[in-house]
Amino acid sequence: MIERSAIPASFTIERHYPAKPARVFAAWASVEAKARWAYCDEAWKPQLHELDFRVGGRERAITGPAGGTRHIFEAVYWDIVPDERIIFSYDMHLDARRISVSLSTIEFLAEAGGTRMRFTEQGVFLDGYDDIAGREEGTRIGLDNLERMLRRAEAA
């Protein structure tokens, strides 16, 4: 029998990106744009990625190492303010096991030379899965990828 637990945690990451809020926002708003940066590990090929980017819409992505554990992300969008804010809740499964449920807020603020983006995650980590540092690290890797993508796009 599984020993049940739920550990609440939260973290905030702020980044400056050298692109206008509309461009940074657009990187979150379609599968095509998101696929260029959102996977934690470049070697992880998504087996599926669907995104219905509207309030009430859903997103589903299945990634992970080839032949290994499947990381299943399922989200629902609660609030979208074009070029300004995105709020979604999501759960993560490792194969059949639900390891967390989270609420994510992303804010896009215009500032000199580009955009300040603030990512806040509030979540509960379930049933002994408590790799909160790993979640934050994975998120940072994604946001690093996003920065590289935006820099390439601005340079082009």
Partner: protein, 157 residues
């Protein structure tokens, strides 16, 4: 144009109920039981409460004091472990304005013959609607309702 802002907050409420956790959980899972306690103050006008208690299922209700803005609750069940845990996300609107989005985790733990309930809410308040004290107070009032409903049920059986 709305000036956009966010305030992130968390609160936790713990309650002990004399009823066993199967009964406390049932007050959440059974639509008729939940409608008895998941309501605002008595003078509030309210709509029908809708509850589809399953993972991916929805819950909604609206209500408010006469002549005041209507509070609309719209929730989504994300994790259900029978008799042990419920995780849901929900939004609150006042009239047509979304004022918050929350993640609410309810844990039901056996505590002697009764139940210790631990409720944690992680919230983002939107666009100047920073209602943490009111939200926490409103949630405590709901647990008072729940305690009264469970007591009535225990006396009836």
């Amino acid at each position: 144009m709305t000036k956009r802002s966010t305030v992130h907050a968390t609160f936790t409420i713990e309650r002990h109920f004399p009823s066993p956790r199967e009964k406390v959980f049932r007050a959440y899972s059974d639509p008729k039981s939940k409608a008895k306690w998941f309501v605002g103050p008595e003078d509030w006008e309210r709509s029908d409460h809708k509850l589809d208690f399953c993972e991916g299922g929805r819950e909604s209700v609206s209500g408010g004091p006469p002549g005041q803005p209507v509070h609309y609750f719209n929730g989504l069940y994300q994790d259900i472990v029978p008799n042990e845990r419920i995780v849901m996300s929900y939004e609150m609107h006042m009239d047509n304005m979304r004022i918050s989005v929350s993640l609410g985790t309810t844990e039901f733990k056996a505590d002697g013959k009764g139940t210790r309930l631990v409720y944690t809410e992680q919230i983002v308040f939107l666009d100047g609607h920073d209602h943490l004290a009111a939200r926490e107070e409103g949630t405590r009032a709901l647990f008072d309702n729940l305690a009264a409903a469970l007591e009535r049920e225990a006396q009836a059986s």
